[in-house]
């Protein structure tokens, strides 16, 4: 009924906060971690590109203007009704359409609508060792304010010592340290956000040497960890200015007269260090090199014998 929204089990599960749809409790191998997952956007820098400090964010560079702004109402109470028939005080029957959670033998899901252009499904398949966040972002409004939308996962108090790991084209994991370059001395990082962004082609990982917290993606994205316990990945951009690096177009792709809609998945894994290497590697293979689907319409096949 209207019990709390949760997914999975104590081995790997999530419980949605009663009052704030951004907040979860993450259960991993018998331990509990507070988890905040939210969508935000960086307002894109505008400019005429005539001086360094007036360079616009564009196709070649990511240049945010200030801190990210939450996309969703932080205190929005999660909806949690099934499609149950009810009766009002006048005796009229009506149905409350479920919003979350959806629970069955194969998968459990929580559907979340953030605003008109951001929504997501959080799901956990039975017997799987990851939690899937399927995001749907767009069309980003055509209000002349460039937006670079991110999803941010945050485990407060997680001690990863300002260090995170990103993959190099799906192969080895490279160590990244906030505001640090291994090959030269980084004195003043004028671009505190984009200066710490790295390409994430398959995964980004934090570790406190006891556990590993990773987010895998289904496509290349930019990402970083700007605070301990935090992972952010950029999922969509719509910009209205050219950055004058050569493309000579603003990054403003449209379809059907509107901004593009992007849909994709992030896979969250969490657990002891010694187990998680294998979990992440096998999951990345499964998700990035997925089975191919072929459909054969009904011809002579009508039964299992024909199928055999």
């Amino acid at each position: 009924g209207e019990s709390s929204a949760d997914l999975g089990d104590s081995r790997l599960g999530l419980k949605l906060d009663d009052k704030d749809s951004r907040r979860f409790v993450l259960y991993a191998d018998g331990e509990e971690y507070p988890l905040v997952q939210e969508f935000l956007y960086y307002k894109s820098m505008e400019g005429d590109n005539k001086r360094d400090n007036r360079r616009a964010s564009g196709a070649y560079i990511f240049r945010p203007d200030g801190d990210p702004v939450p996309v969703c109402d932080a205190q929005k109470k999660p909806k949690r009704f099934f499609g149950l028939d009810r009766q009002d005080r006048f005796g009229v029957r009506y149905t409350i359409l479920m919003d979350c959670p959806i629970s069955g033998p194969v998968v459990q899901e929580i559907h979340q609508e953030c605003n008109e252009w951001v929504s997501q499904v959080v799901r956990k398949y039975a017997d799987e060792d990851h939690i899937e966040f399927e995001w749907l972002v767009g069309p980003i409004p055509d209000d002349s304010i460039g937006k670079e939308v991110i999803t941010r996962f945050h485990i407060p108090f997680y001690q990863n010592n300002q260090t995170f790991y990103t993959d190099s084209n799906g192969r080895e994991m490279l160590k990244r340290v906030l505001n640090y370059r291994p090959s030269f001395s980084l004195k003043d990082n004028l671009e505190n956000v984009s200066g710490n962004y790295y390409p994430i082609t398959s995964r980004i990982t934090l570790t406190d040497n006891r556990t590993r917290f990773s987010v895998l993606n289904d496509r290349s994205q930019g990402g970083t960890s700007l605070q301990n316990g935090q992972i952010e990945l950029m999922v969509h951009r719509r910009l209205f200015f050219d950055d004058a690096f050569g493309v000579d177009e603003a990054l403003n792709e449209t379809a059907f007269g509107m901004g593009l809609v992007a849909r994709g998945q992030h896979y969250l894994t969490m657990g002891p260090v010694n187990k998680q290497f294998a979990v992440e590697r096998l999951l990345a293979q499964r998700k990035l090199i997925r089975p191919q689907y072929f459909y054969t319409r009904k011809q002579s096949v009508t039964s299992h014998d024909d199928l055999k």
């Binding site: 069955g104 998968v107 799987e128 072929f294 459909y295 039964s303 199928l307």
Partner: protein, 181 residues
């Protein structure tokens, strides 16, 4: 060989830094998409030939649904019965969770290659997914099932049949809202 040359060449074009980073002009990006789409379609013929040779019998009339990523597939939405063949390109057995777009008021059965009924679940599509501009689909739900033990570099086929006279499926999993303007 001939059929896969186009994809080889297109993948070569896609190594260009503009294709990788997204810094191409819009009409060039559109052309990249066209090249990839056409090259993948050419490869499908070869995929069918490979599957036929693995199966040992003629697997004719095979189709793909490249728009399943937006929960749109003409075959799963309209056909009363069809076979779904899953080819595993990895060199180890894998599990795949299949999600097929289906109309919201119909039930289906899924039978695996051993003749066993597979546990299925119907999950309604969130309204933002249904309302995505440009999506042309009657699907308001997804048929979800677990395809176990897909053999390495091999395939498994599932027979999927729409239930025409059986009970409608559990409302709890099928509640859908009507799209609004």
């Amino acid at each position: 060989e001939v059929n896969i040359t186009a994809l080889r060449e297109t993948m070569g074009v896609m190594q260009h830094h503009d294709a990788i980073t997204g810094t191409a002009k819009q009409h060039v990006a559109n052309d990249y998409a066209r090249l990839l789409s056409e090259a993948i379609a050419e490869c499908e013929e070869t995929s069918h030939e490979i599957l036929t040779s693995l199966a040992g019998w003629e697997m004719t009339g095979m189709d793909t649904c490249p728009l399943t990523n937006i929960s749109q597939c003409e075959i799963s939405e309209r056909e009363e019965q069809y076979v779904l063949t899953l080819y595993n390109p990895l060199s180890r057995p894998v599990v795949e969770h299949v999600r097929l777009p289906v109309p919201g008021d119909t039930a289906y059965t899924v039978v695996d290659p051993d003749g066993r009924s597979v546990a299925v679940q119907f999950v309604r599509l969130p309204m933002p997914v249904v309302r995505v501009p440009g999506r042309r689909s009657s699907a308001t739900a997804e048929l979800v099932f677990r395809a176990d033990g897909l053999p390495p570099l091999g395939y498994k086929s599932y027979l999927i049949t729409r239930q025409t006279d059986g009970p409608k499926r559990n409302k709890r999993w099928s509640a859908v809202e009507e799209p609004t303007a």
